[in-house]
Symmetry: C2
Subunit: 217 residues, 2 copies
DNA sequence: CTTGAAATGTGACAACTTGTCAGCTATGAT
DNA sequence: ATCATAGCTGACAAGTTGTCACATTTCAAG
């Protein structure tokens, strides 16, 4: 978290730093990104930087948090449009992000995508850190239509949303990396369908003997 | 990947380096871990280190890969014991890892747990990187009993296993961090059950017996 | 206005870090 | 005994980070 000192700064100065940071983090992965470079470009002295943020990680998280917030807002919007159908909304989000990929320079989402892409190696899943079920439930719970889901306990909505996002999030940026490979979208769709119908064998087709054929693949 | 030079080294010397690295990485998170410290402790000169590994990340990945391999082997073993029931095997793996937590110093798994714990901040999910569906399918495909699953296309087994591991893996080390909080195990069990039966609303008539084959404890 | 204490800004600095490279030594084939 | 090859080495340049003593601004009270 940035210090109050930073938040009290004129908005213009804040943005200059944040922009410089975005540029740096979208060109070099976290461990290679240089505070020196950022402050040089933002035109603030070294000492000041450490007034504002604890360290590089502090800055990185703050930046990413902002972008993740935007993603959540997008997902919320898609949920509303799809009448609370979370499966549909996730596919819509995938398509939206994918479309933005081709026009990277367009606004905030583009910047986020660059950062994620560039940090896909070691830091790839810093994003996933933010997928805490509690948080998800608080943010999306109201936008989801529970009538479309098979919920049997209070906790189920949180568990379902958590699992969905944990699976969908990596696929969304796998899609980014593959640059719109339709196979990735296909897989996302297939997995969502499997989640919907369940992966356990249904009684109708149940077969009792196990030792017969499951060694050949 | 380490160079062939490293792999040709006397096993004793290799281990000394790997052990030193394990110690370092389980005390400081990746970006703070120091190659200097590692080589000092392993008693090899700086130049040599760069003969063996490309850089710190190269070493870290190699180390982690070894541990992840062990986890896969464990999961495979649990699969065999559970007659190919992947849901049961994941719960068994959770319990096994959890039990080891209380006795950290016991062997390789203990070391792995320390590293994961220490790198839970920024690098938390480097592990997840290794959860590529293709790899999972190749490693576990044969040990899974497909008769227990509702598979409708060739690709479904890979997609199902991929999704299961992506969801279960973070929960397994969330459990680690919480130090055996029973709520985490409960949640894992609940999510697995939801996956089995499906999260989409069923037409009222179709709801039938669910907990037949699965002996949850 | 003046004063002075609190908040903020600053850049030189010490203590690291990393990867490289010119030259060293061991190995083993001829 | 020779020599090429592979492996080993540590001093080094170029970079990194976080700190701290000091400078400057802000602003309320006298």
């Amino acid at each position: 978290m940035p210090s109050s000192t930073f938040l009290n700064l004129p908005a213009e100065k804040q943005e200059k730093l944040l922009e410089a940071a975005t540029r740096e983090f979208s060109h070099r992965p976290f461990n290679e990104a240089s505070i020196n470079q950022i402050i040089k470009e933002a035109g603030i002295p070294r000492g000041s930087f450490y007034m504002y943020f604890q360290d590089k990680e502090d800055l990185f998280r703050y930046l990413l948090k902002g972008y993740v917030d935007q993603l959540f807002m997008l997902l919320e919007e898609f949920l509303l449009r799809a009448q609370g159908d979370i499966f549909q909304a996730l596919l819509d989000l995938y398509d939206f992000v994918q479309a933005k990929t081709d026009q990277l320079d367009l606004g905030e989402i583009g910047a986020m995508i660059s950062i994620i892409r560039c940090n896909s190696g070691m830091q790839k899943n810093s994003l996933l850190e933010m997928l805490d079920p509690e948080v998800i439930l608080r943010r999306l719970g109201d936008a989801v239509n529970p009538d479309l889901l098979d919920l049997r306990q209070d906790r189920d909505l949180g568990d379902v949303l958590g699992a969905l996002l944990v699976v969908a999030a990596p696929m969304i940026y796998t899609g980014l990396q593959a640059g719109g490979d339709p196979a990735t979208r296909d897989r996302l769709k297939n997995i969502l369908d499997i989640f919907k119908r369940g992966m356990g064998k249904k009684p109708a087709a149940q077969i009792e003997n196990k030792e017969t054929t499951y060694h050949g693949n």
